[in-house]
Symmetry: C2
Subunit: 479 residues, 2 copies
C-alpha cells in the first residue's frame, strides 16, 4: 500500500498523466467503492482497493511513513524488541513497601498514572487521590492542608512509569504503600504495582475519606505482611501462566480478572490458612474480583520494559493516561512520551450515570493492551461484553482487528475462541498509521469528580496524534 | 416431518399412486440430495428435504413416534417437568457421612454408578472400586477377601440413582464416605454425591491400594469434618450461581471444573483459614481442579429429581453408565431404566494409551448433560477441545445441535459465545428419535483394568436403543 502511495506522490508530470488517459484504461481505485463506479462504465478492468489514506490523511506524515515502512533498521529493531517482550518471564518475587524497592523514591514524593502532569492540571479523581495519599502518609492532617501542601510545591509528583511502576486509574503510589515486585527472570528488570483496594469508595477513583485511608492502612499493616510471608513460604510465583490460564477462563486480565483472582487464591490459600491473619487476608482478596488486575499490570509492565530501549524500534512499550492526556512510549525513543488529549470511553454506565459524569480515559491499566491482553484479548472474554457493551462477535472482531497493527502473536496468551491462536501483541506505530486502526482499550469509566468511583465501563482508543508524533520522532532518528 | 411420514405410510393404494404419476410432478424428496437428481431432469418443481427416517428407520417405532408426537398429554406433562427442573434451587446444606443421610443405607451395602448390575458383570474399574470400598469399610482385610465376600453375595450392590445419589466413574459410595447433601429449596428433595478424590490412582477408576484407601480415610476423618464446620459457619451455598459463573469462565462443569473449583475456594477459604485443619483441606481442594465436579453432579441430580415422576412426560431425568450398560430414566416412567450397551468414547488419549485400553462409557457424570451442562454447554468451554478433541467451532456446534432435541433453554446457564443464550436442557425422547440426534456426552475415558485410572477424554453419545425403549414404554402408557 505504501509503495502505491509513493507512486502516486511522484506522478506529478501532467504529460505522463495525459498519455495514460489516451490508452485503454486498466484501473485500480483507492478508497470507497463508489470511486470505481464511473470508471466501470468505460472499462471492465477496474479494481477497487478498499483503502484509507495513511497517517490520517496528512500527506507529509504519509511520506515519512512511506519512507520508514519496511525500513531495515526498524524491522531489525522490532524483531529484537518483540523478542525481548515474548521471552520475558515475569515472576512475583516480593511484596513490600514502595520506598523499599522503587528506585529514587525518597522524601515527599508521589507517583501517579499516565504521562507527567502538574497538580493544578490533574483531573478530579487524581487530585483527590493525591490529597488522600498525602494524609495517608501523615504529611498533612486533613485534605485541605494536603491541597495547600501540594499546591505550594512541597510534594513532588512523578509518573509511575518513570519508576518502572504502574497503577490503575489515578495510579497514586506513596512511599508507605505496599507494592508487588515482579521480576523478569530473563533480563533481571523489575516492575512494581500497588495492591488493588476493591470497588466502591477507593483512592484510585479519588475517594479519600476515613474509610478509604483506614483500608489503605489495613493493606499496609495487615494484608501486605501476611501476603509477604505467604510468598516467602511459597517462593516466587510465575505470572505468565496465570494470565495464560485466565485467558482460558473468560478473563482478559484488564476489565475481567475473576478467574485469575480465583487461580491466585488457589495458590495462596493453603499457605495463608496457616498464617496468623491469613483468614482476614483471604476475606479481603476473595471479595475483590479485580485483585489480580494490579499483578497483571505489573507483569505486563515488566515484560514491556524488557522490550524498551531498542534504538529505531517502532514498537509501543507503554500506553498510559493521566485522565487529561494520553501518552505512549516506543521502544526506540527511550523515556520520551508522545502525548495527545485523552479520549472519552464509549460503553455502558451504571444506573444513574451518563456521559456528562465521565472522566476521560484514565490510568496505567492500558499497559495490559500494550502487552496484547485486555481489549486485544477480548475474544477470550465474551462475558466482558455484558460489562463494556457489544456482542460476543464484537469481542472476537476486536481481537482479530488488532492483528493488523501488531508485530507478533503471543505463543502463551492463547485465545480459545480463535482456535487457540495467540493474542496480537507488539503494537507497531507504523502499522497503526498505515492501517488507520487505533489500539483498542477496554476500560473502566471513572466519575470526573473525586471519590465517586467507577460509573461504568467501555471501550476507547489510543488517540491517533500520539502515533503521528512517534512517527516524526522515528523519522528524525532513522532517516 | 411426522405428518409427512403418516401420509406416506397410508399411501398404499396403487391406483392413487398411478394417478399421481400421470399429472405434472411437483415433488418433495426426503433424504439424501441424490434422491432428487433424477426427478430434476423431468421437472423444475423438485424440493429436496434433508431427512433421515425417524426412530432409526424402524417403521413400527416410527408409527408409535408419529402417534405420540405433539400428543397433548405428553406436551402438558413435559411443560410441568421442565418447569420443575428450571425452578429447582439446589443448595449445599450439609457434608456428612453417607449413612447419616442416604435413605435405606444400612448394613453391608455399596452404591455404584449407572443402572443395576451384578458384581460378576461389572467392568474392571467398578469391580476394583467395590473391593476397595469393602476393605475401606473394614468388611474384609484385603482385596482378595473382599472379592470373596462380594462374590458370596454378602454385599448388597445398588445404583446410586436408586438413592438420589450420583458418583463419577465407578461411582462407588460406601456408608462411611462423606457426601455432599444438596437440597432443592423449592421442592425439598435432596441429592447426594461423594467428594472428588483428585486424579491418578483413585477409587473411582478402580484403584484400591493403601495410598487410595488412606486418602479416603483422610477425606472421611479430616477433610469432611473441616468442610462441614466451614459450611456451618457460612450457611448453605447456592450451587446454581456457581455453575452459572463457571459457564462464563470456560467450564462446562463436567470435564472442566477449574474456574468453578476456584470460585468455591473463594467462598470457602476465608472461613477454612480460621479452622484447625483448614490449611490441609485447602491444599487438598486447591490441588484438584475437578473438586467442583461432584457438587455440580449432585446439583444436577437434585434439579432433575425435581422433574421426575410427572406421568406421561418424555423428558429424560437421568443418563447413567455402569461401564457395561447405559441407562436412561424419563420423568413419566418412574424408576424404570431403559438400557443399552455403553458406547466407547472418541477422543484424545494420554500418551501411551489407545482404543484397546479403553473401558466403555462409565459413571453417573452424564447427569450433567442431562441437566444441559457438560457436553451440552461445550460452547461455554472452548478450552475443553484441547482435552476432548475437535475445534472451538465443534464445541459451538455441539451446543447448537442439542437445541434440536431439548424442551427448553436454561435462563441461568448462559453461553457467552452464543451471545448468552441459555443452554439447551430437558432432553425429549421424542425429539431425539424424530431428529435422529443423540445426546452428546463429554467425558473421561477410564482404563478397562481396575486402578490404572483416566487414560484420556472425549465425546460419546447416549445409545439410540435407550430412547426407542422409552418410546415403547410411553406408547403403552399414553395411547
Amino acid at each position: 500500500m505504501m509503495q502505491l502511495l509513493q507512486l502516486l506522490l511522484y506522478c506529478e508530470d501532467v504529460k505522463v498523466m495525459n498519455d495514460i488517459f489516451k490508452k485503454k484504461l486498466s484501473t485500480v481505485t483507492l478508497g470507497v467503492k463508489s470511486f470505481s463506479d464511473n470508471l466501470r462504465t468505460f472499462s471492465d478492468e477496474v479494481v477497487n482497493l478498499e483503502w484509507q489514506p495513511p497517517c490520517f490523511a496528512d500527506p507529509k506524515d504519509a511520506m515519512l511513513l512511506a519512507r520508514l515502512f519496511n525500513n531495515e533498521k526498524i524491522v531489525k529493531a522490532n524483531e529484537i524488541a518483540v523478542g525481548k517482550y515474548l521471552n520475558a518471564q515475569p515472576v512475583l518475587t516480593k511484596i513490600c513497601s514502595a520506598r523499599e524497592v522503587i528506585p529514587d523514591f525518597k522524601g515527599r514524593k508521589l507517583l501517579h498514572s499516565g504521562p507527567p502532569i502538574a497538580y493544578e492540571n490533574m483531573c478530579g479523581p487524581m487530585q483527590g487521590a493525591v490529597c488522600g495519599a498525602i494524609v495517608y502518609e501523615g504529611w498533612a492532617d486533613d485534605i485541605e492542608s494536603a491541597q495547600n501542601l501540594v499546591r505550594s510545591g512541597q510534594v513532588e509528583l512523578s509518573p509511575c512509569h518513570h519508576h518502572h511502576a504502574v497503577g490503575p486509574m489515578a495510579g497514586v503510589i506513596s512511599p508507605s504503600m505496599p507494592v508487588f515486585v515482579v521480576k523478569n527472570t530473563v533480563d533481571g528488570n523489575e516492575a512494581y504495582s500497588n495492591l488493588n483496594e476493591g470497588l466502591g469508595k477507593v483512592l484510585r477513583f479519588g475517594a479519600n475519606g476515613d474509610e478509604v485511608l483506614s483500608r489503605l492502612k489495613f493493606m499496609q499493616e495487615k494484608l501486605a505482611p501476611v501476603l509477604a510471608k505467604a510468598l516467602e513460604i511459597l517462593g516466587p510465583i510465575e505470572i505468565k501462566p496465570l494470565i495464560s490460564q485466565g485467558l482460558q477462563m473468560g478473563d482478559e486480565c484488564h476489565n475481567r480478572n475473576s478467574a485469575s483472582t480465583g487461580q491466585l487464591i488457589k495458590i495462596l490459600s493453603p499457605v495463608l490458612a496457616g498464617i496468623d491473619g491469613g483468614a482476614e487476608a483471604l476475606r479481603f482478596i476473595a471479595s475483590n474480583d479485580h485483585f489480580f488486575l494490579n499483578l497483571s499490570m505489573a507483569a505486563c509492565k515488566c515484560m514491556l520494559d524488557a522490550a524498551s530501549g531498542v534504538k529505531y524500534s517502532s514498537m509501543v512499550v507503554a500506553m498510559a493516561r493521566n485522565g487529561v492526556n494520553f501518552g505512549i512510549r516506543i521502544s526506540g525513543a527511550g523515556d520520551t512520551w508522545f502525548e495527545a488529549p485523552s479520549l472519552f470511553i464509549k460503553g455502558l454506565y451504571f444506573p444513574g450515570y451518563g456521559d456528562k459524569d465521565a472522566n476521560p480515559d484514565l490510568g496505567d491499566s492500558a499497559i495490559t493492551e500494550t502487552a496484547g491482553i485486555g481489549g486485544f484479548a477480548m475474544a477470550a472474554s465474551p462475558a466482558i461484553v455484558k460489562f463494556v457493551g457489544g456482542s460476543s462477535q464484537d469481542a472476537l472482531n476486536n481481537s482479530l482487528r488488532m492483528r493488523e497493527i501488531t508485530l507478533g502473536r503471543h505463543p502463551s496468551f492463547c485465545l480459545p475462541a480463535l482456535d487457540f491462536d495467540g493474542t496480537a501483541c507488539g503494537i507497531d506505530v507504523l502499522k497503526v498509521l498505515d492501517r488507520h486502526i487505533l489500539p483498542i482499550i477496554n476500560t473502566g469509566i471513572a466519575h470526573r469528580q473525586a471519590g465517586i468511583g467507577q460509573i461504568g465501563a467501555g471501550i476507547t482508543n489510543a488517540p491517533e496524534e500520539c502515533f503521528v508524533k512517534a512517527l516524526r520522532f522515528l523519522a528524525a532518528d532513522v532517516l
